[in-house]
């Protein structure tokens, strides 16, 4: 990964996952509950990182369709855990905005009718630190 901006490396660093471990079994995509919503499938996330195409990832719908249900993280037999890559891509988007992190009091205003419960729960689970 010798891309100029090293975003792929940053994704690996943030996620703590090593995409080279992947054996392309597809168990992540097989486990994913929002598979049909995703333009880039969970297993493809791994190859996008390997191919240094982070631009497509951060622009994808998929990055924000992931529910964070952890099924792929739980079941990945190779410890690649694509869910963490998806998550890292989201974090990259956030960090590159350069803005402040969201304040707790801003959250209620952002919640729409169609925000899945699970997303909220998993966001708390993930960002409580």
């Amino acid at each position: 990964m010798s891309h100029a901006d090293n975003r792929a490396e940053r994704i690996c660093e943030i996620s703590g996952s090593n995409p080279y471990m992947c054996m392309k079994c597809g168990k992540c995509s097989a486990s994913c509950p929002s598979y049909n919503e995703m333009d880039i499938k969970p297993h493809q996330f791994v190859s996008y990182v390997l191919n240094d195409d982070i631009e497509s990832l951060v622009k994808s719908k998929a990055a924000f369709k992931c529910l964070g249900c952890f099924a792929c993280i739980e079941r990945c037999p190779r410890n690649v855990q694509p869910g963490k890559l998806v998550d890292a891509a989201r974090q990259i988007v956030e960090r590159e905005k350069g803005g402040d992190y969201i304040q707790p009091e801003e959250i209620p205003a952002l919640l729409g009718e169609d925000v899945p419960q699970q997303l909220l729960v998993s966001a708390f689970r993930r960002y409580r630190r």
């Binding site: 471990m21 054996m23 392309k24 079994c25 597809g26 168990k27 992540c28 995509s29 097989a30 486990s31 994913c32 598979y35 049909n36 499938k41 297993h43 099924a71 739980e74 079941r75 990945c76 037999p77 190779r78 410890n79």
Partner: protein
């Protein structure tokens, strides 16, 4: 003063690419004792060895240092080469500049420096080497095979047919192992028991083979050629000599009808009686009483089997018995089991009876199995319509739920299962979720292709994420189809998991007893991955079958034969050369304190009142004496000896210290 020749090997570019071989030669030329130094492309080649032999003669060399690959690889080669030229083989030392230097370092300058230091250490050692003579020890001409599966059976038969007595120790009541549980075998679809049973019978009837069934190895002592093994014959509660195998006891056992005791042989899918043989073709055909479940042993009442046995062979008082036997060689053929699937919740194995392992499927498809060979669902006894196979369950895993290796047999047996199902019941739909289909083997890929081309088995590339049992008793399988880029949800009536294989649970215990090395996955390690695949690094221990690594039946049988040949080669010798690197006691320093004997694992040290005569001494003292036939050269005594009287030939204190000095110079 030694006259040492140093030979530095290029090993093609293996060494020369990172170590400046010429420079090493120039720098070691001036070391103490070195009278000749040279390099060559392949030192171990015939021409290289010729060069060494010529130099020995021409320069009257008294010692050799070969800077090359690991001594574990070619020490024996160069020792033999020295012996051919008339030099004592123990005057040869190897500096390992390949595995320990060129292969792991990148910087040429640093690697060259290190190679020179390693050479210096070896030179310093050779300066202190003394010629050693190999001793001899007799060989017990009997072999032990641990494990009575196809690997153990084949090894035992091959050894026995060469004329040597063999004992098989099998912990189950019958030999036969995993292969006896299989229905058909790939890639020809022979019936497993049809090809195994004759071999089992041959073993039973062979005059050179003795079977210790329902027995376990308890203790192993001794060394190559002279192992002493304690075998525990577990109490069978049946007199083996009197039993005729009529089977009355099994059919009449009241517990047989209750269906409460799961049959291990049928992987818990069927039941058995408390007095039982695992299967009809058992060898020996003598039942055992399962004391944990037997009513007589639990309550003291019943005794039906003893009353009905026509030959009066039921013996409730029987005790475990320890048999001690001597062997020249031991073969480990402890085989495998499949992993526990408790950690794979997503496949619902523990919650749904219709999710089964492949080994369970073997029993379900077997005519002698719990369903009489009809493929039926365990939940409702109905024939399934849609069957899904999931590959690589626990194989090729990087996490702690599974195993990191490929189990090797699953791709082929799944193709076999798929084909057999389609053949018997063409109306069933068979789908296989695979990651890769691995079919390296003679007629293997053709076999797998038949499953697709002739039987139209639906192979989908992608792993299954989840198996969801439904209220109506069916299952929904959610998996990936990576080639079509789809997530699939399909209905299934039965799901078959290709669970990873793992070595038998007892492998580690047995390896410890044998002091044989074992890897992190509990497979026994071979002496050399490529060149000595059926030998353990521990002399006299040989490996057969799955205990060494995943393999199928043809491979197991070939390896079993190979192990047998190695055993025969050992037993054919009347005497073995013993390692001359044994401990030696300096009587002037020995206090006779017994410390060394306390740590000697071989009982090789005894004490004798010895007349000690020398400068200023002339008296009889208690002095340690080493039996060189028993001493294996571990050196435990040398570091336990308080006064330093014990020393180890070939690895003496001064030799090691001189190596330390050379490295730290």
């Amino acid at each position: 003063m030694q006259r040492i020749g140093v030979f530095v090997c290029h090993c093609g570019s293996n060494i020369a690419a990172t170590v400046d071989v010429k420079k090493v030669v120039e720098l070691v030329r001036y070391e103490q004792g070195v009278v000749y130094a040279d390099d060559y492309m392949y030192m171990c080649s015939e021409a290289g060895q010729q060069k060494v032999m010529e130099a020995i003669k021409e320069h009257n060399l008294t010692g050799l240092v070969i800077c090359s690959c690991s001594p574990r690889m070619h020490e024996a080669t160069f020792r033999a080469c020295a012996a051919k030229a008339g030099l004592n083989p123990f005057m040869v030392e190897i500096a390992n500049i390949r595995e320990h230097c060129s292969w792991i370092h990148k910087d040429m300058e640093e690697a060259t420096k290190k190679a020179v230091i390693l050479a210096r250490a070896a030179i310093a050692k050779v300066n202190l080497n003394t010629p050693l003579q190999e001793g001899e020890s007799p060989v017990v001409k009997r072999a032990l095979v641990i494990g009575g599966g196809i690997a153990g059976i084949q090894t035992a038969l091959d050894i026995a047919n060469a004329g040597y007595p063999v004992d098989i120790v099998e912990k189950e009541p019958s030999i036969g192992g995993r292969m006896s549980q299989l229905d058909k075998t790939f890639p020809t679809l022979d019936c497993s028991s049809c090809i195994l049973t004759p071999k089992m019978v041959e073993v039973a009837q062979h005059p050179n083979i003795k079977i210790y069934s329902y027995s376990e190895v308890e203790k192993v002592g001794g060394f190559v050629g002279n192992f002493e093994v304690d075998i525990r014959k577990k109490a069978r509660s049946v007199n083996e000599d009197k039993c005729t195998g009529c089977g009355v006891c099994q059919t009449k056992c009241p517990l047989g009808k209750t269906g409460k005791i799961p049959s291990e042989f049928n992987r818990g899918l069927g039941t058995r009686s408390a007095i039982y043989t695992p299967f009809a073709q058992a060898v020996p055909n003598v039942p055992v009483i399962d004391r944990e479940n037997c009513t007589y042993f639990k309550t003291g009442k019943c005794g039906v089997c003893a009353k009905l046995c026509p030959s009066g062979c039921i013996d409730y008082e029987q005790q475990d018995q320890i048999v001690t036997e001597k062997y020249g060689a031991i073969v480990v053929a402890t085989g495998f089991d499949i992993i526990n699937l408790d950690k794979y919740d997503e496949y619902a194995y523990n919650t749904c009876p219709d999710v089964i392992t492949s080994l369970e499927l073997e029993r379900l498809m077997n005519a002698a199995g719990p369903t009489g060979g009809h493929l039926l669902r365990m939940s409702d006894g109905k024939a399934p319509k849609d069957i899904v196979f999931i590959q690589c369950v626990g194989s090729r895993c990087a996490d702690d739920r599974g195993k990191p290796y490929c189990s090797k047999v699953c791709c082929m047996y799944t193709a076999k299962h798929a084909m057999l199902i389609k053949d018997h019941w063409p109306e069933m739909n068979v789908t296989v979720f695979y990651i890769d289909v691995r079919t390296p083997g003679k007629n293997f890929d053709e076999f797998y292709r038949r499953a697709v081309e002739q039987y139209h088995v639906n192979y989908i590339k992608g792993q299954v994420g989840k198996v969801m049992p439904q209220a109506d008793g069916s299952l929904i399988v959610q998996g990936s189809d990576l080639l079509d880029g789809k997530q699939i949800k399909m209905k299934a009536d039965m799901v078959v998991l290709a669970a990873a294989v793992e070595p038998n649970k007892d492998a580690r215990k047995i390896a410890s007893m044998l002091t044989a090395s074992i890897d992190n996955n509990d497979f026994l390690t071979e002496a050399h991955a490529k060149l000595r695949p059926v030998e353990s690094p521990t002399a006299g221990i040989f490996l057969s079958g799955m205990s060494q690594g995943p393999k199928d039946i043809p491979e197991t049988v070939s390896q079993a034969g190979a192990a047998a040949v190695k055993v025969i080669g050992l037993l054919a010798k009347d005497k073995l050369k013993t390692n001359p690197c044994t401990a030696k006691c300096d009587m002037f320093q020995c206090n006779g304190c017994s410390t060394c004997a306390n740590v000697c694992p071989y009982g090789a040290i005894s004490y004798e009142d010895t007349l000690v005569r020398g400068p200023g001494v002339n008296e009889t003292r208690r002095i340690a004496k080493v039996n060189t036939a028993l001493c294996q050269g571990c050196g435990a005594c040398t570091s336990a000896c308080p006064s330093g009287a014990m020393d180890l030939q070939g690895f003496s204190n001064l030799q090691i210290i001189s190596e330390v000095d050379a490295i730290c110079r």
